[in-house]
Symmetry: C2
Subunit: 342 residues, 2 copies
């Protein structure tokens, strides 16, 4: 029998393969696999469903991840997916796989974080499952949200000349992770050393305790603005641009000089000798929103400080970074590598 | 810091602990943690959400579980939870954690089973997540269903003199597991021996490829009958009786002689020298439905061959098995032990 390694296919390849073999028959299924959340017709509105699984050793390292933050993050990343459809989260379910090494008190800490996120995002924990696990910790969260039918925002829908906007700042979570990994190494070599995280509090916080940007969805709603397309920035800007491009059939021009990057991110980039743009473009885990706004609507939202215009949509399906000097750098799956060399 | 072992608390204890600390604030949250599925108000109907996580080495053993069956079962057990609320499943999401030892072809087999279940239950696979896992295989499924508001059925609601009914037959899945475990031992001692599963096909099938009883929900709907309470039988009859009793505040009398047990289950019980009632009461994984029906409605459904009356509801909160000889055996968490000794 043939054996193809999963690594050969990659995560996106695997999702494509699953999607290709999936048909939908329920009239209430509006959108299935392939966007940030599934869209289900509930009569008066659309119900949104998003799910994410966090696995110990893959998505988090308990040697530097406080359990409370982990619980919070497991919820926040799903909230982010609901926000990316222009919706508001309402309920979550949490399934958790636990090995014997976890105590009741440890589980309490995880749920403290989950409850803190529920409180912050005004969502209800309505169910889940608790299972044993032979090895590590697994947290699988499903978020259920709502969006008015006329406001649902997909990855498709971007139109030529729309303004490409990003929320918050980018690249910080990447350096947060680098700092945590470095301090872990230092600690392992000399357990008497105390980790120096205080001065990098912002970056570390962005990695350990990201937020889903429902605040932005409220801002858009107040101004009656519906983005033409949207996605959350979980795998780095390049990956998300390519998703929007593929779904919308449009191209994107991004001005490097406009990218929202915090000072602390720039300082860390210098410390780690990494181009900060690389962190933004390929870093991941920022959980900000990337959206396209029609020229007409852009006037309405340009006063929102947390939204930055970073480029525009082009009819030609060509995705480029425009550097300060006017140079064009192709955005592709390895876009950051080209940039490193440029 | 205090350290309490999870084993001390147990799964139900842990769920109670989580539930106790959980408040709900969304007006659309009708029922949260504590029933077979969460109930969310979607305006014209209720949306049901159920979720279950299957972990390798805990819930399944890949040495005798075909991947296709595993995919099917992961869906079916969630369908069962939606059915237990008197609802129909509409969509599922599937999150899967995979280690490197799984090939693309292996993943295809799992999804073949998932797709087969989707086709059988007419549900759409609408999303999910694919993650790496350092050790085994993890499948987390969330099912989304619908139920008319007037038809939703909870664990609470049983009334005195209601007829307690079970669907299908009970105890088979328990012996299916015993057979699989035995053949595994035989095979490990002598890899040239071929497992003898053919003669136990029914029992093994009940363990490896259970069904959610949506067919029963259709039957009830056709007859305009809404059970007064319902739960699915996943942890053995005793456990489910105690849940109905606790939620409804009623007692249950179960006639041992009425329990629906297949001939092959009785034969296996003899072979394994286990009281078949023990398998029914404490075995688990039958994924049948346990429901209470008002006397008035019972007339409507008593012609359905897949529904068996096994007892009745009493005002006094006392749960008993009535043996053939008229002896009363208390049903409690260790109910089967008493029975073993009797």
């Amino acid at each position: 029998m043939q054996r193809t390694d999963l690594a050969e296919l990659g995560e996106f390849g695997l999702i494509e393969r699953i999607k290709k073999n999936t048909e939908t028959v329920q009239p209430s299924t509006i959108v299935g696999i392939g966007d940030d959340a599934a869209v289900i017709d509930s009569g008066s509105h659309y119900t949104l469903v998003a799910t994410d699984m966090l696995v110990e050793g893959i998505h988090f390292d308990l040697s530097y991840t406080p359990l409370k933050h982990l619980g919070y993050k497991a919820v926040a990343v799903n909230i982010s997916d609901i926000a990316a459809m222009n919706g508001f989260p309402k309920q979550i379910t949490v399934s958790i796989g636990l090995s014997n090494r976890f105590s009741v008190e440890a589980v309490d800490e995880i749920y403290e974080g989950i409850h803190a996120a529920c409180k912050n995002y005004k969502v209800d924990l309505v169910g889940g499952d608790t299972a044993s696990s032979k090895s590590g910790l697994i947290i699988s969260v499903t978020a259920i949200g709502e969006v008015p039918k006329e406001a649902v925002t997909y990855r498709k829908g971007a139109q030529p000349n729309d303004v490409l906007c990003a929320t918050g700042d980018l690249g910080a979570a990447y350096f947060g992770l680098q700092i945590l990994e470095r301090e872990k190494q230092v600690f392992m070599e000399n357990p008497n050393m105390r980790p120096e995280l205080k001065e990098h509090e912002y970056l570390v916080g962005r990695q350990l305790r990201p937020e889903g940007r429902t605040d932005i969805i409220h801002e858009l709603k107040e101004r009656n603005v519906v983005p033409t397309s949207m996605i959350d920035i979980s795998d780095g800007l390049a990956s998300e641009i390519l998703h929007l491009s593929q779904h919308s059939g449009m191209g994107f021009s991004v001005f490097v000089d406009n990218l929202p990057i915090e000072n602390s991110t720039l300082l860390a980039a210098e410390e780690f000798k990494v181009n900060p743009i690389t962190a933004v473009v390929n870093g991941g885990e920022d959980y900000e929103l990337l959206m396209t706004i029609s020229q007409k609507d852009y006037e309405e939202i340009k006063g929102i400080p947390e939204i930055t215009p970073i480029g525009f949509v082009t009819k030609e399906k060509n995705n480029i970074l425009v550097t300060k000097s006017g140079e064009h750098v192709q955005i592709n799956a390895q876009g950051w590598k080209h940039l490193e060399n440029s």
